[in-house]
């Protein structure tokens, strides 16, 4: 039990991040890449790292209004991420639909399909806002682990 607790304490310091693009216009994806790659913002200071495989991920960032076309693929990728996971909706599109609200082609809001924990509104949100959202997600993950 103590060994397990020790592992948990170590794991909580370095969540790995995975991005799902659920039909985004790429604006939020660029901001998310900026948050990670540009030294000015550098989300890796919080111990986070982007990973290429959903099976390694702890925190999921979803962008885009969840178009009808992408919902199955997004669901499949989301199910591959091991529990416990924390889901962050980035941009107004997944949160409410934003500019695409009430369109026949999108299924937003995304919380009807995925369990969302943290919302980061903005069109797109600035990198600091995304860092703020990830910081809140880390708090949620700490409780969940």
């Amino acid at each position: 039990m103590t060994m397990l607790q020790k592992f948990k304490d170590i794991a909580v310091r370095s969540p790995w991040i995975y991005r799902i693009n659920a039909g985004s216009c790429n604006g939020c994806d660029v901001e998310m890449a900026t948050t990670a790659l540009i030294p000015r913002y550098d989300v890796e200071r919080l111990g986070c790292q982007y990973c290429g495989s959903p099976r390694h991920a702890d925190i999921v960032l979803i962008s885009g209004p969840l178009t009808r076309h992408v919902v199955d693929a997004a669901r499949r990728v989301f199910d591959e991420i091991p529990d416990p996971k924390v889901t962050v909706a980035v941009g107004v599109c997944p949160i409410s639909g934003g500019i695409f609200r009430e369109s026949y082609a999108v299924l937003a809001p995304i919380d009807d399909y995925f369990p969302i924990d943290v919302n980061v509104p903005g069109c797109p949100p600035r990198p600091q806002a995304i860092i703020e959202g990830i910081a809140q997600a880390i708090q949620v993950w700490r409780q969940r682990l």
């Binding site: 200071r45 107004v92 943290v118 919302n119 806002a129």
Partner: protein, 167 residues
């Protein structure tokens, strides 16, 4: 030589990383952030509701008056409402701290109320909205503007017509 000057400059400057989560982040003076609404200066013309591309702004008539609601979770911060507002009652603040937990999703709202009044002239229903006086010539005195504010829309039109004829 060039390398050396760069080296010295970077050494003196320190890290370029923004210390944001541990210190406040720089924000541009004209940053388009959260919408703020002032019911005192609002004309209740509802142009912002029409101009809003996402339907974030919604006016509603209630017994207490006209309510204004802007849901930040669907606002795209385009600034159309600010551009079309004739009185500057709606403006964008530099506040971008909008990340929140899912439980607070439907509380991210800017709410305002333009109270209902009883017309001081005819006793009918009116709104305590700012009168549309920007283009009226000669300009209204503060007392006249105050009187105009206490009237219903029909009495406002009558007041202005009388004023025009007497001038």
């Amino acid at each position: 030589m060039n390398f050396l000057s760069l080296f010295v400059r970077n050494l003196l400057h320190g890290p370029y990383t923004d210390p944001f989560p541990f210190a406040p982040a720089p924000t541009a003076a004209r940053f388009r952030g959260k919408v703020a609404f002032d019911p005192e200066t609002c004309e209740a013309c509802r142009k912002c509701e029409r101009a809003c591309p996402t339907g974030a702004i919604r006016f509603e008539r209630t017994p207490e008056g006209m309510t204004f609601d802007c849901w930040h979770d669907t606002c795209v911060f385009c600034g159309n409402c600010v551009f079309h507002c004739p009185t500057g009652a709606i403006e964008q603040t530099g506040d971008w701290h909008l990340a929140h937990l899912q439980a607070e999703k439907y509380r991210q709202v800017e709410h305002g109320l333009i109270p209902a009044i009883v017309c001081s002239s005819c006793g009918g229903k009116g709104l305590d909205s700012a009168p549309a006086i920007a283009k009226i010539k000669p300009p209204l005195s503060p007392d006249e503007a105050k009187e105009l504010r206490s009237l219903c829309p029909k009495c406002r039109a009558k007041f202005l017509k009388q004023r025009r004829q007497s001038a």
